[in-house]
């Protein structure tokens, strides 16, 4: 096939597996960018009064590092897994709305490019990933840095919301016959819960950003204290999103390791219903704790106590999950392979992060820890030690299924140990630095505070982490070029995705599976049933949704609309027209015969 046709194939794909790969590759590219930002930060902090990086550039680096890692790396990496695996795990042939799925991806990619394009103008966002008002006002942030930020986040939010609606309908409405909710793989359950978090948490930040946009572009005073506005309104709206967001970041990796542990322990997940209910409780309570990010603003003792108690309560279902994972391993016939290493890394490192989190839950303790490196330590233990380890477990686990090749096991272990050691050397000392009083978001520090040793140690660890990532990249590239061909079921798995070839054919399942239990594939393999049951429906011709170019057209219209706010009104108008045109063609694309 000609190169152009192959390219258009990718640009117009509506196949969830291809979209998953697109998400994964893009997310990894952004992850590398975020990683470089981190290394620059660590280089600057390795020595007191360093002048490698100016204060202004430093502000841009830590802002973009946070924004990139959260919105452009971890979330889309999770999306890569949602996309590739959810239909396979529920026995479906695609998601409920394949073209909307493609639309979500293109909006995400263009949004990520948009926000990073700010670097080209020397105007990268620079007020922290959470952009507190009223530093973000036009008065105190004159340049276009924060315009890039708020517009970029609005665009990215649209992508997540659309995907959220899509996956909710997919999981509720496209399960194979017999797959009741309590037979869903844990990863699918965590995905479902995460989508509800997304569709309910993104609206508050959307409003917060809209109000910020009005303040900056139109001259309103929502966050302007001089005119009666209250900067705390921003904090509330932001954290109403921001706290559920951290569960959005951790629940999918928790789902991943809930798949990996049973496979490598050769035992079912211990207490499956309890793990599911804990996930639901975490999400539910996650909406009731947001002001624990605001203990130092003066909410008053009643509010502080309420949020403190709620935050400590959330520790319970979280802890319960950890016990369930340990109990899954206990008594199992464990195979120590790379996915399991990362899963074990997740449990141990997330535990540490959870403990520092519980410390933060006490307002008087948090008074000391807020805005110090103690928080930086905590958040990296849960987001890297937790989310990233979980995602890497997933990468190693599902790579054979996605790529049709095996990753090298020895390189995988080298990757893991370098990652594990580098991570701990980089971030554990930050607990000490926090306790010693080092604040966050400072571009340098004076000598004589005893901060040098741990900062230098942390920098060394960060570079070791970088090497670990390079090892992974090497492993990945070698695998793609000449890795061993992967069988359908390289790990002796338990769930439906292992019942089809690696990589799966475009239609996923030749015959829709009939599900009679949890861990359906395991039940089939271990002979509890005689033959693979056939679907009662007569095998109709497998009709796959046709490719469409309207998703990328609409996405391009949207980003042009956003770009116009930074340049000229007519650019926005052109973008709006393109978007509306694309939406109309999208809506009528399939109307001629079948109803769409």
């Amino acid at each position: 096939m000609s190169r152009l046709r192959r390219l258009t194939g990718w640009l117009t794909t509506v196949d969830h597996k291809r979209i998953g790969i697109l998400y994964g590759v893009s997310a990894f590219a952004f992850f590398l960018i975020g990683g470089i930002e981190a290394l620059l930060i660590r280089l600057q902090l390795a020595f007191p009064r360093d002048s490698l990086i100016s204060a202004e550039t430093y502000n841009q680096l830590f802002t973009m590092h946070g924004t990139t890692m959260i919105f452009l790396a971890v979330m889309p990496l999770s999306s890569a897994f949602f996309n590739f695996l959810v239909p396979l795990m529920i026995g479906a042939r695609d998601v409920a709305f394949p073209r909307l799925n493609a639309l979500s991806f293109w909006i995400f990619l263009f949004g990520g490019i948009f926000i990073n394009a700010s670097f080209l103008f020397g105007a990268a966002p620079n007020a922290g990933w959470f952009g507190y008002a009223n530093l973000t006002s036009k008065t105190f942030s004159e340049g276009q840095n924060l315009d890039f930020w708020l517009l970029g986040l609005l665009v990215l939010g649209a992508s997540s919301l659309i995907a959220g609606f899509n996956f909710i309908v997919t999981i509720v409405n496209m399960r194979a016959p017999g797959m009741t909710f309590m037979r869903l793989p844990t990863f699918v359950w965590m995905t479902l819960i995460t989508q509800f978090l997304i569709i309910l948490a993104f609206p508050p930040i959307t409003v917060g950003l809209i109000l910020l946009g009005f303040d900056r572009f139109v001259g309103t005073n929502f966050y302007n204290p001089a005119a009666g506005g209250n900067p705390l309104l921003w904090q509330h709206l932001f954290w109403l999103f921001g706290h559920p967001e951290v569960y959005i970041l951790i629940l999918p990796p928790m789902g991943i390791i809930s798949e990996v542990l049973p496979t490598f322990a050769r035992k079912p997940l211990f207490g499956y219903p309890v793990v599911i209910y804990s996930g639901i409780l975490i999400a539910f309570f996650g909406f009731g704790v947001w002001s624990h990010h605001m203990f130092t603003v003066g909410l008053g003792p009643v509010a502080d106590s309420a949020f403190s108690i709620a935050t400590m309560l959330i520790g319970i279902p979280t802890g319960v999950k950890i016990f369930n994972w340990l109990a899954t391993l206990w008594g199992g016939r464990i195979r120590f392979q790379t996915p399991l290493y990362f899963a074990l890394g997740f449990i141990s490192m997330f535990l540490i992060g959870g403990l520092s989190g519980i410390m933060h839950a006490s307002p008087p303790v948090d008074m000391q820890q807020q805005d110090s490196y103690f928080v930086v330590a905590h958040l990296h233990y849960v987001l890297v030690g937790g989310s990233l380890f979980g995602l890497f477990a997933g990468i190693y686990y599902w790579w054979p299924k996605i790529a049709g090749r095996l990753l090298d096991e020895r390189l995988g272990r080298v990757n893991f140990w370098l990652f594990f050691i580098g991570f701990n050397v980089a971030f554990f000392p930050m607990h000490f630095l926090g306790v010693m009083g080092m604040p966050r978001r400072i571009y340098t520090y004076a000598e004589g505070l005893n901060w040098e040793l741990w900062n230098r140690t942390s920098t060394a660890g960060a570079f070791l982490l970088g090497v670990a990532i390079l090892v992974f990249l090497f492993n990945a590239l070698v695998s793609l070029r000449r890795g061993a061909v992967a069988p359908a079921d390289p790990w002796d798995g338990r769930t439906l995705e292992w019942s089809i070839p690696s990589p799966p054919p475009s239609y996923n399942f030749a015959e829709v599976p009939i599900v009679k239990s949890r861990d359906e594939l395991w039940a089939q393999k271990k002979g509890r049933r005689s033959a693979v049951p056939r679907s009662e429906a007569s095998p109709e011709a497998i009709h796959l949704p046709a490719p469409s170019h309207y998703p990328i057209v609409v996405a391009f219209g949207i980003i042009t609309l956003a770009a116009g706010a930074l340049t000229h009104l007519w650019v926005s108008v052109a973008g709006a027209f393109l978007m509306i045109y694309g939406i109309y063609r999208f809506a009528f694309e399939y109307r001629s015969g079948a109803h769409g």
């Binding site: 016959p177 569709i199 309910l200 209250n230 705390l232 909406f287 008053g300």
Partner: protein
């Protein structure tokens, strides 16, 4: 996979009656607004009346009363969360700042 059982479908007459009730409630709301004697009870009365209108539109016009309960949960859950969050925000801003 069982077919959704066919549900009672409101007739045109029912819709028109709901429309009439909505009109009456709106008229009552506006009257109450202007009757100064009732000023003390204005807030609770208006909240109750508008909640009634809200429910009528949701249950009849949006058909939630007759539809599968999945739709009811999909709406009621987020609605409950929204009300909770709005009340919490109002409370937080009434105290402390």
């Amino acid at each position: 996979m069982e077919p959704t059982p066919s549900h009672p479908h409101p007739s045109i007459r029912t819709y028109l009656m709901v429309g009439a009730v909505l009109t009456v409630i709106t008229a009552v709301e506006i009257s109450v607004f202007y009757i100064t004697a009732l000023a003390r009870y204005l807030a609770p009365m208006l909240i109750v009346l508008s909640a009634a209108k809200f429910s009528l539109v949701v249950m009849f016009f949006m058909h939630l009363r007759f539809d599968n309960r999945i739709f009811r949960w999909l709406f009621a859950g987020p609605l409950a969360l929204t009300i909770g969050v709005v009340l919490a925000l109002i409370a937080l801003f009434l105290t402390g700042h």
